[in-house]
Symmetry: C2
Subunit: 347 residues, 2 copies
């Protein structure tokens, strides 16, 4: 059963139609404390409401158990439906809760952040953090429906918007230069909801096409890892140093670094790299690293979930839309790429 | 990727071949405290050993976390393999741990009880008990390989052997009268390992064929629920009353009661019913119930995971091998069936 993707600015009408079609024995709504306050009042849905604390630090086994208990106490059956209304934490954790409750009940994702819409709500990755590792526990399970709307984004802080926009940049790089050029012409903080919904539709469909061809991440799907080997390392290192950065910002800097590697190893065009770097520098600033950080970053990358036998593994590009997955990068090459990243970012 | 079923009395050779083929980045072995002592010494496998406490009361979130932590501390990756060596608790819980670790690592099941071999190790059902409900949390996930051997059974108590044999009776009823006749000629406590391995192979293949056609329990697979609507009710009621009964015994009594219903509603042959009842009475004794227990049993059946809208739902038989799934049974009919069950069991 394929996941349905719905792009709309009338969320309530679409949700009513979905509930009508899924005909659940009972309906549950999951939010976090933020979306409970900001978004829940906009949604016209009669459902048992479960609330988890907001924040990635609560994407854990305690919140997962809280959802299981809410489902159990509300009398959920395999014919019930859980609507996940929130950012990536809510859709990831709610998806896992539903996928494991009585060996699987249906769920609907309604992402309320740009990052959630472009990245987390589609693709069937569910999970929680465990033992200090991100998304260590989870399954692949698709929502029956994903309702994507920009109507929730008006109250988002600009860091949130830019975080999501970084994933859109990634999808554009994966698909071709036209969409990439279009995005670079945009100021991510000054997009009209209609224009954003259209760009978002293009972006999400890039991911959806890739996921459909490789639902369990055996091959092609690793394309979506572009920017993330280095991005995750920046993010983890920043967190460990007590100066956390938004996920999307880390991805933006990761994209620059991995496009440097792509240029070094795959002849990715120099002018595209420079335009990307300038855009990222302008809108995201930079993540300041020195040579002293290189060893730590290399170690983190060797322990990435996607690495094999301690090698550093990246998705690289021979050009916009020309993707090479599973490329092993030598530590020395990575250090050269860090040097060039620092030059490009004026560090 | 289809699950491989291997029937053997040379477990070590087969395990070596499996490890060779799966080529894991690292190997983990899960046992409980019983199989750690009784069975682990027989297995020639170099692996990081994780042990959970034995018993259904430990089929819970704490043991699940213990396995996750063992995998994490042992540096398991998505390319690692977990071998579950034990009864149904170990294969169910180990399967869930593997299926959710980093969104899924491979696992191999080596059932060490007859019940585990015939029922739990095949079919992709993983799970733990939660909030007082059996298998409330779980996923459908298949082992890459299931190694079935009777060499572990020589030390099993006879209640364990008979528990497993009840599921074999169920499979025989689902497949046809020849295998059913063959089983009724057997004394389940006096089977040679070779004869048992052969009967077991026939029995497991019945389940495997059904599961292959309906992996996620949408239709046909409900056939496997034969005997279990009533059996689970007996088991839960017995537990609540502080006089727990083995699962397989409850299934045996459930089979008798549901064959009574099948006779009442579907003209299941009377002589087959009587032969089944006599066999069950001889080898399993009876579960003593009175009219005062009927209401409690009906309530439990209405809350069964497979029930819809509080109706009582059974798999029934129009004859051996002639299966009707999803039959709604009126409470009054169920009470009549309880009456006849009591007559047949001499209660």
């Amino acid at each position: 059963m394929a996941q349905r993707l719905i792009f709309t600015n009338d969320v309530n009408r679409e949700l009513a139609a979905i509930v009508d079609r899924l005909h659940p024995s009972s309906l549950f709504l999951l939010t976090d404390t933020n979306t409970s306050r900001m978004v829940r009042p906009l949604i016209d849905l009669s459902a048992t409401h479960i609330v988890i604390p907001a924040g990635d630090e609560h994407k854990n086994i305690d919140s997962l158990q809280h959802v299981w208990q809410g489902l159990q106490q509300g009398g959920a059956t395999r014919q019930s439906v859980l609507v996940n209304l929130g950012g990536g934490v809510v859709t990831d954790l709610g998806g896992l809760a539903a996928a494991t409750f009585k060996r699987g009940m249906r769920f609907v994702n309604v992402p309320t952040t740009l990052l959630g819409a472009v990245d987390a709500a589609v693709g069937g990755k569910t999970g929680i953090n465990y033992g200090g590792l991100k998304n260590e526990i989870g399954v692949f399970a698709e929502a029956t429906d994903v309702v994507i709307s920009t109507c929730f984004f008006s109250t988002l802080p600009s860091t949130e918007l830019k975080s999501g926009f970084a994933e859109m940049l990634k999808h554009a790089l994966l698909t071709g230069s036209d969409e990439f050029d279009r995005l670079l012409d945009i100021d991510p903080e000054r997009l009209s909801p209609e224009n954003l919904l259209h760009r978002l539709q293009v972006s999400v469909m890039v991911k959806q096409r890739i996921v459909e061809q490789d639902p369990h991440e055996h091959g092609l799907r690793r394309a979506l890892n572009l920017g993330h080997t280095v991005g995750h390392a920046f993010e983890s290192h920043a967190l460990a140093c007590g100066r956390p950065v938004p996920h999307g910002y880390a991805v933006a800097w990761g994209l620059v670094t991995e496009c440097v590697l792509s240029h070094m190893m795959m002849k990715f065009p120099s002018d595209t790299l420079h335009r990307l770097a300038a855009f990222v520098h302008l809108h995201y600033g930079h993540f300041g690293i020195t040579c002293d950080d290189y060893d730590t970053l290399l170690t983190i990358m060797r322990h990435d979930k996607k690495s094999r036998q301690g090698e550093i593994n990246c998705t690289l590009l021979a050009g916009c839309g020309d993707v090479r997955t599973g490329i092993t990068v030598a530590p020395d090459d990575m250090c050269v790429a860090f040097d060039i990243y620092r030059d490009l970012m004026g560090i």
